[in-house]
C-alpha cells in the first residue's frame, strides 16, 4: 500500500510538472512573439483598407502608415519595373549584337567622294551633345535607383554604394534642367524636318536600307530618325514632367499622384534608354560615316547621296551643285 501511495505521488507530481510547462509555454510565446502584432496590423489593414493615426508634426500626411496603393506601388517598384527594364535594355543590347554580327557595319558602298557637305550646324551639335551628355548621366543615375541595390550594392559594399547613390541622386536632379532645355531646343530646332510624310512610308517598306543593300530616298531625316526625334520629344517631356513632380513632393499632387508619376517616369525612362542604345549604335559602329554628322558636322557627299538623297538634291538646288567643300586630308577614311 505504501508502495502504491509513493507511486501515485510520483505520477501526480509528474502530471503537475507537465501542466506547469504546458500552461507556461503559450504565455512566454505571447510575450516574445513579434508576429502577433503584425497579424493584428494586417487584419486592421484588411478591415479599414488603410492604417493611419494622428501625428504631432506639422505634416499630417505622415499619419498614414499603410495604404493599399503604397503596397501595389512597392510591388511594381521592386519587381515589375525591374523585369520591364531588364527585358527592354538587355533585349535591345542582344538585338543590336545579333544585328551587328549578322549585318555588320552599313558600309558606304560607293566609297568616299573626298567632298563633304554640312549636315548639322555648330549650334545643332552643341544642343545634341548637351542633351546626350545629360541623358547618359541621368540614365546611369536613374538605373542605379532601380537596379543599384540588387546589382551594385553586393559588389561595392554599403558605404561606397551609399556615397555613389547620394552623388548620383544630386546629378540626377541637377542635370535634369539642362536636359529639359536640350529637349525643348531639339523640339524647336528640328520639328520642321520631322513631320512624317509619304517618303517615310516608302522608306519603312524598304527596310530603311538596313536589310540588304537598298538605299531608299529620304529628306534630311529619314523615318528612323523621325522615330528617334519623337521618342526624344515625347519621352523627354514625359520624364521631365513626372520628374519635376517627384522633385517637388506634394506641390502638384498627393501621394497617389506621385506614385503614378514615379511609375510613368520609370517605365518611360527604361524604354527611353533602350531606344537610345539603338540610336547610339546606328550613329557609331552601325553605319560608316554617320558619326561625322554630329562630330565634325559634315558628311561625305556619297554618304548623303546614299542615305539622304532627297535632302542632298534640295541642298544642291538651294546652294548650287558644286558648293560642297573638299574634305580635309587628315580625315580618316575606310
Amino acid at each position: 500500500m505504501a508502495f502504491f501511495g509513493k507511486y501515485l505521488r510520483l505520477v501526480l507530481g509528474a502530471c503537475a510538472f507537465l501542466l506547469i510547462i504546458a500552461t507556461s509555454t503559450p504565455s512566454g510565446a505571447q510575450q516574445v512573439n513579434p508576429t502577433a502584432s503584425s497579424v493584428k496590423e494586417q487584419q486592421l489593414l484588411q478591415e479599414l483598407n488603410r492604417v493611419q493615426g494622428r501625428v504631432s508634426i506639422p505634416d499630417q500626411r505622415s499619419g498614414v502608415l499603410e495604404q493599399p496603393a503604397g503596397r501595389d506601388w512597392r510591388e511594381f517598384r521592386n519587381v515589375t519595373l525591374r523585369w520591364i527594364g531588364g527585358i527592354a535594355i538587355l533585349g535591345m543590347l542582344a538585338m543590336l549584337a545579333i544585328f551587328y554580327l549578322s549585318r555588320g557595319m552599313v558600309r558606304l558602298e560607293s566609297g568616299r567622294s573626298g567632298r563633304s557637305i554640312v549636315r548639322f550646324t555648330a549650334f545643332e551639335r552643341f544642343v545634341h551633345w548637351m542633351t546626350a551628355t545629360c541623358f547618359i548621366i541621368l540614365a546611369i543615375s536613374g538605373l542605379n535607383i532601380t537596379f543599384g541595390r540588387p546589382l551594385l550594392l553586393p559588389l561595392i559594399g554599403f558605404e561606397a554604394f551609399s556615397e555613389w547613390s547620394q552623388w548620383a541622386k544630386y546629378a540626377h536632379n541637377y542635370l535634369s534642367f539642362p536636359f529639359t532645355i536640350g529637349v525643348v531646343l531639339i523640339f524647336l530646332m528640328w520639328i520642321v524636318g520631322n513631320i512624317p510624310n509619304k517618303v517615310d512610308v516608302d522608306w519603312l517598306k524598304r527596310g530603311g536600307g538596313l536589310v540588304g543593300h537598298d538605299h531608299p530616298p529620304a529628306y534630311r531625316f529619314n523615318a528612323g530618325q523621325k522615330a528617334i526625334y519623337w521618342i526624344v520629344v515625347i519621352g523627354g517631356a514625359a520624364v521631365a514632367g513626372t520628374g519635376y513632380e517627384l522633385m517637388f513632393p506634394f506641390y502638384l499632387s498627393g501621394i497617389e499622384g506621385m506614385q503614378l508619376a514615379e511609375i510613368v517616369h520609370s517605365v518611360v525612362a527604361v524604354l527611353f534608354v533602350a531606344a537610345m542604345l539603338a540610336h547610339i549604335y546606328i550613329g557609331t559602329v552601325g553605319m560608316e560615316g554617320a558619326f561625322e554628322a554630329m562630330g565634325s558636322g559634315t558628311v561625305d557627299i556619297n554618304w548623303a547621296k546614299e542615305h539622304h538623297r532627297l535632302w542632298l538634291e534640295e541642298e544642291n538646288a538651294r546652294t548650287g551643285a558644286n558648293d560642297a567643300r573638299p574634305q580635309p586630308a587628315a580625315t580618316a577614311a575606310e
Binding site: R115, W129, A132, N173, S176, F248, E292, A332, A333
Partner: protein
C-alpha cells in the same frame, strides 16, 4: 561625283598618328591589346570614330550643362527645404 579612290588601311593608320593628341592614345591603345593593327576589328572602328574629330561642340555642351546644373543647385536650394526643416516642429505631444 566620285573623288579619289578610298584610302588604304595603312594610310588610314598613318593619318591616325599624325595628330599629336591621338598619337599617345594610339600608342596606349596598341599596347592594351584591344586592336590588331591593320584589321577591321570592332575596337579599331570604335576608336577611329571617337578620335576623328576634336569636338568643340561637345566640350561646349558639357560646360553649358555644368553651368545650368550649377544654377539649378542655387534655385533648388532656395525653393526646397531640407527634411529636418520641412518636417520639424517646435513641440511634440506625448
Amino acid at each position: 561625283m566620285r573623288g579619289p579612290a578610298p584610302t588604304t588601311r595603312a594610310r588610314s593608320r598613318r593619318q591616325l598618328q599624325q595628330n599629336k593628341a591621338t598619337k599617345l592614345a594610339f600608342h596606349v591603345y596598341l599596347r592594351t591589346g584591344l586592336c590588331i593593327p591593320g584589321r577591321r576589328t570592332f575596337a579599331n572602328r570604335l576608336f577611329q570614330l571617337v578620335e576623328v574629330n576634336v569636338m568643340k561642340a561637345f566640350l561646349l555642351a558639357c560646360i553649358a550643362a555644368a553651368i545650368v546644373a550649377a544654377l539649378a543647385v542655387g534655385i533648388l536650394n532656395r525653393v526646397q527645404q531640407p527634411v529636418e526643416q520641412a518636417f520639424a516642429t517646435s513641440a511634440v505631444r506625448l
